[in-house]
């Protein structure tokens, strides 16, 4: 079988101390062994020279939209996985808002099968909480879990009825499935297209108040506290929601949360000029909320970085600002942003970066044998060059869509190779 030796890299496995000049042997899709700088290396294998590079357990994006089945003009599982591995992600977790909705085991299995055929990234689907994500009857969570789903969510159509959400949490707990909520009380946000605040007043665009996110987050945390379920708050973006998570964690509630690169990088000022690639939900918030996001990343309240990669065809985005769909692509820019905005600005160190992109996502979704480099684990590896200077161009994207606000932005730091199941699937 294939053997790959990654030589002389700087291994970052938060479970063990940092290790410079180490080599790691991958065999049969698993991590076989580590070798110290002075140890004899095996010779009957392919060599990847990682001198000067960081070798990390494979990055796992907990929140993407791959659009297949049903919206293949935006993205396919193959094109989304190609963008993922080019961005350093070895695994992606697609949300269920496909057409039809991933609310049953057949669609879950189909997504995994399409990913297997593409042979790039691992795909761990997220099933719907309710049938058709319409908020009324529970979807077959047990069957979806058996088919390979790792969590449940109605994502952009959050369950509005607290009674249904309470039962969903009680039921999901039976299957040890985390419940993910895109927190948005639509009675407060409906019709809104950007963060409600001084900039929305200035631009004459209808705002979505921070409260819409915060009220839902507080509701979910209280429900999780009572039911004992694991609630994972998707893409937190407001000071109040982050504070609510911080306090809930201190009380021992089983709550985790993720943040997107655009929410730790941009503010609502980016909307001036009415570029529809600045429109997403939750919206880009004000600088004060962004500062709260940074503080939450720094103090550990925020567990993970996830892209909320949401491809839309150029024709769909070439509309009036208030008619264009919500969402931006993010798989290929996330690591560049994490290095440039977090690591190089001293918000987090490299160990914490690996925790947020790999260790914690694996823990939150119970992905055994991932998020670690220890021998016996899956040979999913992200190789990083923290000093590489590069520029992202929408035109070069592997995604089928081009809706990123970061077109032309330069970064310091990138994923330079992505290894999935012991196979190099991307090399810059």
């Amino acid at each position: 079988m294939m053997k790959l030796l990654i030589k002389n890299g700087h291994l970052i496995d938060p479970a063990t101390p940092e290790n410079t000049g180490m080599s790691i042997l991958l065999e049969d899709g698993k991590v076989a062994a580590w070798f110290g700088p002075k140890e004899d290396l095996p010779t009957d294998c392919e060599i990847f020279d990682a001198s000067g590079l960081l070798v990390a357990p494979g990055f796992i994006d907990m929140h993407v939209h791959l659009r297949e089945p049903g919206q293949e003009h935006k993205e396919t599982i193959a094109s989304g996985c190609a963008a993922a591995v080019a961005g350093g992600w070895t695994s992606v977790c697609p949300m269920p808002n496909t057409t039809p909705i991933n609310d049953n085991a057949a669609i879950t299995r189909y997504m995994i099968e399409q990913a297997r055929k593409a042979g790039l990234a691992n795909v761990f689907p997220i099933g719907a909480i309710t049938k058709s994500s319409d908020g009324s009857e529970l979807a077959e969570m047990g069957e979806m879990k058996a088919a390979g789903a790792v969590a449940v969510s109605d994502d952009g159509r959050p369950v509005p009825n607290a009674g249904i959400m309470r039962r969903a949490m009680q039921y999901a707990r039976d299957f040890d499935l985390p419940v993910i909520d895109h927190c948005e009380d639509k009675s407060l946000s409906s019709g809104g297209v950007m963060h409600e605040g001084r900039v929305s007043l200035l631009l004459g665009l209808k705002g979505m108040p921070a409260l819409a996110e915060e009220i839902d987050a507080v509701r979910d945390i209280m429900l999780a506290h009572e039911t004992g379920a694991h609630i994972h708050i998707a893409h937190v973006s407001t000071a109040g929601a982050i504070d609510a998570v911080r306090q809930a964690k201190a009380k021992g509630v089983n709550v985790t949360c993720e943040v997107t690169p655009h929410h730790f990088t941009l503010t609502d000022r980016a909307v001036e000029g009415y570029d529809t690639n600045t429109k997403m939900a939750p919206p880009l918030r004000s600088e004060e909320h962004r500062n709260a996001v940074i503080a939450g990343i720094k103090d550990g309240t925020i567990d993970a970085i996830a892209t909320d990669h949401a491809p839309h065809h150029a024709d769909e985005k070439a509309l009036e600002y208030d008619r264009a769909p919500f969402g931006i692509t993010g798989l290929e820019t996330a690591i560049g942003l994490a290095f440039s905005e977090l690591v190089h600005k001293g918000v987090i160190d490299l160990v914490r970066l690996v925790e947020m992109c790999s260790v914690n996502p694996a823990r939150i979704f119970r992905l055994n044998g991932r998020g670690t480099l220890k021998p016996g684990s899956h040979a999913d590896i992200t190789i990083l060059d923290p000093t590489l200077e590069w520029t992202y161009r929408n035109a070069d994207s592997r995604s089928r869509s081009r809706n990123s606000p970061f077109d032309g932005r330069s970064f310091t730091g990138a994923a330079v190779a992505t290894i999935v199941g012991g196979k190099v699937v991307y090399r810059r």
């Binding site: 007043l201 631009l203 507080v218 609510a244 000029g273 004000s286 600088e287 070439a318 008619r323």
Partner: protein
């Protein structure tokens, strides 16, 4: 070095300097005389093509732009599109590029969505003039209001102006706030709290840059009534150019100019206020309320008026009301804007 084709968009008042605004107003004054002639036509824009692209119903503004173009001898084409480009299966960008391919010199656009003129300006070779975009701006309305005020008050600087009504949804209010504060007036806005967010006071801080901090809630364990820590520029703190008044009476008190905004019935359906009747009683401009203003105060309304609702009929018909003057000056202002947008030079004082 003079370029062969000088394109100047008018997307909003927010982007203009006080000198540019004054230049447009001075140019409008010289054009105003043309409409009083027996033959109301000059050849200034002969050979120029102007497209009036209206995605939203309009009688007054569209007619005003059309007359302005014709009195300058431009060829004007009116296009009324039901609503969005989307309804025709075409994207907004497609629509703009198709029209642009016909080589107009200027496209005048009105749309119910904020930002459409800015989006068109990015893809169009023609100059884009904003004739009203959603709740964002209506720059020619603010210019004609300013011209009306200048004609009756001599100058804008130092005046106290009350703007009353649905500020939240009003492009007229936004353009007027930018224009009046840039020219040195002091503006007070007031209306139902649901339609006049307190944060409006930051609209012109640092020249249209809402600087400083937003009032961010600090989670459920902290009181949510912490005061905003917003920085307002030092001069603004001493002498705020823009204030949000608690009551409309407070805003009207001592005003030189009272500007009334049209109230839309649909706001009632969205629970911004209970009934038009209650709105008229508590927020309408009556003679009693107008008595709080300066004796020589003037009343403006962008039209069309809801008589007996936001403005009492006797106020609308009084000599203090300059509503028809506004309409008259609208043609002159639009002549000036079209002339400047297609390459003309402003009149200097």
């Amino acid at each position: 070095m003079e370029k062969p084709f000088r394109r100047r968009d008018l997307l909003g008042i927010r982007d203009l300097t006080a000198a540019e605004i004054t230049g447009i107003l001075d140019t409008a004054e010289t054009f105003g005389e043309i409409s009083t002639r027996e033959v109301k036509k000059v050849p200034a824009l002969r050979g120029k093509t102007i497209i009036n692209l209206f995605f939203e119903a309009s009688t007054r503004t569209r007619t005003s732009f059309e007359l302005a173009a014709k009195r300058l001898s431009a060829d004007a084409v009116n296009i009324s599109v039901a609503s969005s480009s989307l309804s025709k299966g075409e994207t907004l960008v497609d629509t703009a590029m198709n029209l642009d391919a016909m080589a107009p010199d200027c496209i005048v656009v009105r749309h119910s969505s904020a930002g459409v003129p800015h989006q068109l300006a990015k893809v169009s070779k023609a100059a884009i003039v904003n004739a009203g975009d959603g709740a964002n701006e209506h720059p020619t309305q603010a210019l004609l209001d300013a011209m009306t005020i200048r004609e009756h008050k001599g100058q804008i600087e130092g005046l106290e102006v009350a703007i009353l009504g649905d500020i939240l949804h009003s492009r007229v209010a936004r353009s007027n706030i930018h224009l009046l504060t840039k020219l040195g007036a002091r503006v007070r806005v007031a209306g139902p709290r649901t339609l006049v967010p307190k944060d409006f006071k930051y609209l012109v801080a640092a020249g249209g840059n809402p600087s400083g901090s937003e009032d961010v809630r600090r989670g459920i364990s902290h009181p949510s009534d912490t005061l905003p820590t917003g920085r307002v520029s030092a001069s603004a703190a001493r002498d705020p150019q823009l204030e949000v008044s608690d009551h409309i009476e407070e805003a009207i008190h001592g005003a030189d100019v009272v500007m009334i905004l049209r109230i839309q019935r649909e706001r009632q359906d969205s629970a911004y206020f209970p009934t038009l009747r209650e709105y008229a009683i508590h927020y309408g401009l009556t003679n009693e309320r107008l008595d709080l203003a300066k004796k020589d105060a003037i009343v403006l309304h962008p039209g069309p008026m809801n008589r007996g609702i936001e403005i009492a009929s006797d106020v609308a018909d009084s000599s203090r009301s300059l509503i028809l003057d506004q309409v008259k000056y609208g043609v002159a202002v639009r002549m000036a804007v079209l002339y400047l947008a297609t390459g003309g030079q402003p009149t200097s004082e």
